[in-house]
């Protein structure tokens, strides 16, 4: 459907995007995820036709569109600041594209009415954008793009300007629209929660380079590089050396003893690695509480150095010896206090190794 073949973009001496290759199939929901300045917006603007790639080719429905001006690409775009035309009413904004395509006015009216109803802006069609709330502006911008039945819908951080509660609501709203319209869409965001909720596949970009493409759980549970692991969610990274491999699991020698985790291709005995453990995967038991952790592996003992109450969670910093401090999260009931001794345990399936690259994190 949409294919990016080795596209790059350089601005003077800055490379914003380098050699990006990506295939997107019909009806797929893609999230382009990365920290700010990672080239994700530039990539989107190249697909929309606002920027010309320095190298590479873009194909839409088997047609090479690399040199096509934006008005001939049939890509719908939703901007971070909505970019609603301030001097036109909601109705005029939404029918603008149909007018540009010379759709007769009677058809225009029916289509605008239908989408206004669908998007929940019925009765607001005579208003100007400045007379709408943030969420309503957002809907109007979505309607303006969707009414054109674009081949691809491009969304550039569309929720970034909304407050937290509305953002959460709109996230699910956009997902319901995606399911209904089944428009192939590319959603640019730096918010991993948004990407996890909205995408069939997530494309992680860091420093203009594609890091990993995969389904949300794959990206979250099996990041390929330390950069991805670092960016997505919270992770404890424990320096480790592979001591033995057996049946999909491996023993890792670390500063706090031998830990059992998942094995990974390319990491043989003696390899240096980072062992990544998510804070929510720890089980925390206060020392002295008569609870058996059984004979499972991966027992750690530590002292709580800091706690934070997050409402549904308790967030701990736990010193486990050899200067290693872990972040762990547990239920707020029966919470451990600062200075208290605790036992920590985690399943080997929740410890995922990341290769140590010479120029990676120290």
């Amino acid at each position: 459907m949409l294919a990016l073949h080795g596209i790059s973009k350089r601005f003077h001496d800055v490379t914003a995007v380098s050699d990006l290759t990506l295939q997107i199939s019909e009806g797929e929901q893609i999230a382009l995820l990365g920290p700010s300045g990672c080239g994700k917006t530039t990539t989107l603007r190249m697909i929309a036709g606002f920027e010309r790639p320095t190298a590479g080719r873009i194909e839409l429905a088997t047609r090479d569109i690399t040199g096509l001006p934006p008005e001939r690409r049939e890509c719908g775009m939703v901007f971070q600041n909505y970019a609603l035309f301030p001097h036109l009413t909601v109705d005029e904004n939404i029918s603008f594209g149909l007018q540009m395509r010379h759709v007769p006015s009677s058809e225009r009216r029916t289509r605008v009415r239908a989408i206004l109803e669908r998007i929940g802006l019925k009765g607001l069609d005579r208003r100007y954008p400045r007379q709408l709330s943030g969420g309503q502006q957002q809907r109007a911008a979505l309607a303006r793009a969707l009414i054109m039945n674009p081949k691809v819908l491009l969304l550039d951080e569309p929720l970034a300007n909304l407050d937290a509660k509305l953002r959460e609501e709109m996230r699910f709203y956009i997902r319901s629209l995606q399911r209904e319209f089944r428009t192939t869409s590319i959603y640019v965001t730096h918010d991993q929660a948004e990407a996890l909720v909205l995408a069939d596949r997530i494309v992680v970009m860091i420093g203009g380079v594609l890091q990993q493409v995969g389904e949300p759980h794959e990206i979250y549970e099996r990041p390929t590089t330390i950069e991805v692991a670092d960016f997505i969610g919270l992770s404890n990274l424990v320096p480790a050396e592979v001591a033995g491999v057996a049946q999909g699991l491996a023993d890792y020698r670390t500063a706090v003893g031998t830990l059992s985790g998942l094995a990974r291709d390319g990491l043989g005995v003696g390899s240096q690695a980072w062992l990544s453990i998510r804070p929510e995967h720890f089980r925390i038991v206060r020392e002295g509480v008569a609870e058996s952790l059984g004979s499972k592996p991966n027992h750690l003992h530590g002292t709580v150095t800091d706690t934070a109450f997050l409402g549904n969670l308790m967030d701990y910093r736990i010193e486990v010896g050899s200067g290693l401090r872990l972040r762990a999260q547990g239920s707020p009931g029966d919470a451990a206090a600062i200075g208290e001794r605790v036992k920590l345990t985690f399943a080997p399936q929740d410890a995922w190794p990341l290769p140590k690259t010479p120029n990676g994190h120290d």
Partner: protein, 297 residues
């Protein structure tokens, strides 16, 4: 509700006497200057225009409408008013055509380069109008650079000075920077994403400009036009030097009456007449633009 509104601009003493808030005093110096140096002189002029001309002194304190009556019926006066207004409108139109692309370009530049280009546009304002107009005389006169070049090419000479063409060239040259400045602010305030959005909705580059950017820039067009029109119709030095008293505009006529003929009532009446004409034109223009800008606010 009403009391809270009042409280925001002025405070009340316990007796309920209104006292202006301290911030409203900030406008006082301006009020004094405008009152003493603009409104009072205008009222004085209105007064003089109703007095009788007198060759012994400036005027005789005797009420008359004669100054208005004979000027309003004089076709020559209306010809001068027509020419002055025509020069003003042409100056606005041509300087708008020249300034708009420049201002648009500037508004799309990174701040540093924009500052540099802005300086280039403002620099001519640092040189006096007289000097710049003399510069044009060197270029435009019958023995000037252009006509010398034409002669060398065996082409007929062009009359570029001591006529309306010369005055118009001078006016445009002087007032283009003002037009650029007036346009730049509103153009800069337009989010470039708006044009991108229009393009992604199928608008060509031209359509995106014409349907989106142009209407949004109208406030700048309005303020720039008014500024340049007012400056152009009240210009004195440029029409005097480049028009050589052949092309006569209202300011030249007024100065002639007041300083050369010492006929204050006549000059005052002409000024008041022209003031009314200018206000009517500006009001009509503002109404027209308000119609086009009805979606903006």
């Amino acid at each position: 509700m009403a009391t809270t509104k009042v409280a925001s601009t002025e405070s009340r003493t316990s007796q309920g006497i209104r006292v202006p808030s301290p911030t409203s005093l900030l406008i006082l110096p301006t009020l004094v200057v405008v009152g003493f140096f603009l409104i009072l002189p205008y009222l004085n002029m209105l007064y003089i225009s109703l007095m009788t001309a007198n060759n012994q002194g400036a005027f005789e304190r005797k009420l008359t409408f004669e100054n208005y009556a004979h000027n309003l019926t004089d076709p020559f006066i209306w010809k001068v008013i027509g020419l002055t207004v025509q020069l003003g409108l042409l100056t606005v139109l041509i300087s708008l055509l020249i300034s708009y692309p420049a201002a648009y370009h500037l508004s799309r530049q990174p701040p540093r380069r924009r500052g540099l280009l802005m300086m280039l546009i403002i620099t001519p304002l640092l040189i006096g109008v007289v000097i710049r107009t003399y510069g044009w005389m060197i270029i435009l006169s019958d023995t000037g650079l252009i006509n010398q070049a034409l002669r060398a090419l065996h082409l007929p000479a062009a009359g570029l000075m001591y006529n309306s063409t010369g005055v118009l060239i001078g006016l445009i040259h002087i007032y283009v920077p003002y037009m650029v400045l007036a346009l730049l602010g509103p153009l800069q305030a337009i989010d470039p994403d708006l044009e991108s959005a229009a393009r992604s909705l199928g608008a060509s580059r031209w359509n995106a400009f014409w349907r989106i950017t142009w209407p949004l820039s109208l406030p700048g067009v309005l303020s720039g036009s008014i500024l340049v029109f007012v400056l152009a119709i009240s210009a004195y030095i440029i029409p005097q030097l480049l028009g050589g008293f052949v092309t006569i505009t209202m300011p030249i006529l007024v100065v002639q009456q007041v300083t050369d003929l010492l006929n204050w009532p006549e000059g005052s009446a002409l000024t008041v007449i022209f003031f009314v004409v200018a206000v009517v034109i500006l009001a009509a223009y503002a109404r027209l633009m308000a119609f086009f800008m009805r979606g903006l606010s």
